[in-house]
């Protein structure tokens, strides 16, 4: 090796090592996420059913179909509604749990394990329990209702109840880990702040409002963004528990995208819906961050 190339190696050593490590990952990312991301956005402007013919350019017609169709519009509303319920209850319950975990009690470690456990099991394996409990004749819940002298309920005929059970399952599965993050946040707040506020005569509610919540702002942003992205694309629970029913009342947009794309090969509409749902997700995240950053000033 001559000196010139050796000094080239030495001069660019860091960069060469860095690129040779980042390169393969970036390539992998490009092939399995980058290309689909761009292709998905392009798909929204075409009409294509996957056959080996050129996709037909339709401009914004997929989008105008979306906004003129009650079915799609109500799907997006259902995603927001059911997702919103999941998010709100998950946030409140996990925060309550974290506050309880913050109290010094014995046996906390074991309890924490129990709350984390649902997240360690696959959705497909645990959702079956809810499905079985809701069997109209011979299911556990109706058996219980009959024993209590109440009328059994045909759960799968009632939109309200099915939404309720979807939310229950979502919270059951996701609340433990969220509580752990809240707890880490609660414990990172400087205890002297509480002491100082107490000296100033703050009551419990004021402590929460002026010490705890401001101290949790960063954690809250992290949790909210995580949850927003999560619930806006939630469809696995719906698919396995209700398959969109009864009468499409739990047919969230993400489930519709899944069916448009992978069952009826209507790639154009799947693409347009994906772009709309993706943009909406980003928009909600930005609005949240905007509000949150504003308060910081």
């Amino acid at each position: 090796m001559n000196t010139e190339s050796r000094s080239f190696w030495r001069r660019h050593r860091d960069a060469l090592i860095a690129y040779s490590i980042i390169g393969p990952f970036a390539l992998w990312f490009l092939l399995t996420i980058g290309i689909p991301l761009v292709a998905g956005i392009l798909l929204a402007f075409f009409k294509w059913n996957g056959m080996p013919v050129m996709p037909e350019w339709v401009g914004l017609r997929n989008f105008s179909f979306f906004f003129n169709s009650n079915e799609y519009l109500s799907s997006i509303w259902k995603q927001l509604f059911i997702g919103g319920l999941c998010l709100i209850f998950n946030m409140l319950i996990s925060f309550g749990l974290a506050s309880l975990f913050n109290i010094p009690i014995r046996g906390k470690g074991l309890l924490r394990t129990a709350y984390y456990l649902p997240n360690i099991a696959a959705v497909s394996a645990t959702v079956a329990v809810v499905v079985a409990l809701l069997i109209p004749h011979g299911g556990g819940l109706n058996g219980l209702l009959t024993k209590l002298g109440l009328e059994p309920i045909i759960w799968s005929y009632s939109a309200g109840w099915m939404i309720f059970w979807v939310v229950v399952f979502y919270v059951w599965r996701n609340t433990g880990p969220l509580a752990i993050i809240w707890l880490a946040g609660l414990q990172s707040i400087d205890p002297t702040l509480y002491e100082a506020a107490k000296v100033d005569g703050a009551n419990r509610l004021q402590l929460l409002r002026y010490v705890t919540l401001p101290g949790l702002r960063g954690i809250a942003a992290f949790n909210f963004i995580r949850e927003i992205i999560g619930v806006m694309q939630m469809y696995d629970i719906v698919m396995l528990m209700t398959s969109g029913g009864p009468n499409g009342s739990t047919d969230v947009l993400m489930y519709r995208i899944y069916r448009d794309g992978l069952k009826s090969y209507n790639f154009g509409m799947a693409g347009a819906s994906s772009v709309i749902l993706g943009l909406l997700t980003v928009l909600i995240t930005l609005v949240y961050l905007r509000l949150f950053l504003k308060e910081e000033k």
Partner: protein
């Protein structure tokens, strides 16, 4: 007063814990019932009158051992590859100075936030139309590409994996450079330094990445559910997913079979969690604080 509050808190937490554990117990017991018995049971806790392990045994007799090993292999693959990339890239992004470093950092942070909805359908099309694979010609048509192909379980990348690279970089940033610099002084090469110095020091965080990746991969039933329609190539949670989805249709139901398979598919991650949870939970909380 303070004591009463504590007891109350404990009571609420205990009650909640029962709710958290209950489905696991239900699943375990329901797997021991008989088919006719379960359908007419009407109990919140399906205690079998005459417990049978037939449904549990069926994993050995009906060829389900193969999906089990597929799940295992897939979990190990992603656990190894993503921990490897996290260590190497986290190190590089923390220690080396090169053009595009800031860009890659932002890239990693943003990648983590890409909504999966945008890539679900196009990724499927790409995998189906990939040239020269699965009977496809050079234009990508003629066959089915990687759909229903065993390799599909190993080639996809989840944008969420980027969070681990970021987490490792954060941990590297808070580690003094003295150790590596001493090694470099003694003439250690780049790879040697990472393997001999960095990996041992950062063992806890690597355990976090490895275990979390393994569990998340194990539980990802959607990928096999979407891409694979063959018992030989699917994973256990994926197969359970197809069985549960079929419950929405009219037809024969074998609940004990579903619950036995659910229980078996839940068991490995739960056992790992019970023994190694300090790595899993700690890393998760750290991701929250640092992220």
């Amino acid at each position: 007063m303070k004591k009463l509050g504590r007891w109350l808190a404990l009571a609420v937490l205990l009650l909640g814990a029962v709710v958290m554990i209950y489905p696991f117990l239900f699943s375990l017991l329901a797997g021991m019932t008989r088919r006719q018995e379960f359908q007419n049971l009407g109990e919140m806790l399906p205690l079998p009158k005459d417990p049978t392990f037939q449904a549990y045994r069926s994993i050995f007799t009906t060829g389900l051992i193969r999906p089990f090993f597929n799940t295992l292999l897939r979990s190990l693959w992603y656990a190894f590859v993503i921990s490897g990339f996290s260590v190497m890239m986290g190190y590089v992004l923390s220690r080396l100075r090169f053009k595009g470093r800031t860009f890659f950092l932002y890239f990693i942070i943003c990648a983590n936030m890409i909504p999966g909805v945008l890539t679900l359908i196009p990724t499927y099309i790409e995998m189906a139309r990939i040239p020269f694979l699965g009977g496809n010609d050079w234009t990508g048509f003629g066959g089915s590409g990687l759909i229903n192909h065993p390799a599909i379980l190993y080639v996809l990348l989840s944008p969420a994996s980027a969070v681990w690279i970021f987490l490792f970089r954060q941990t590297m940033d808070s580690l003094p450079r003295d150790y590596e610099e001493a090694a470099y002084m003694d003439g250690s090469t780049f790879m040697n330094t990472i393997v001999r110095i960095i990996v041992p020091i950062q063992r806890p965080i690597i355990a976090t990445i490895f275990l979390n990746m393994a569990i998340v991969t194990w539980n990802d039933f959607m990928t096999p559910f979407i891409y694979i329609n063959n018992l030989k190539y699917t994973t256990l949670p994926g197969y359970v997913g197809t069985l549960v989805a079929a419950l929405q249709q009219v037809g024969d139901r074998d609940y004990p079979q579903i619950f036995a398979l659910s229980t078996i598919s839940v068991l490995p991650p739960v056992l790992i969690f019970l023994f190694l949870q300090r790595y899993i939970v700690q890393g998760f909380a750290n991701a929250g604080i640092k992220g």
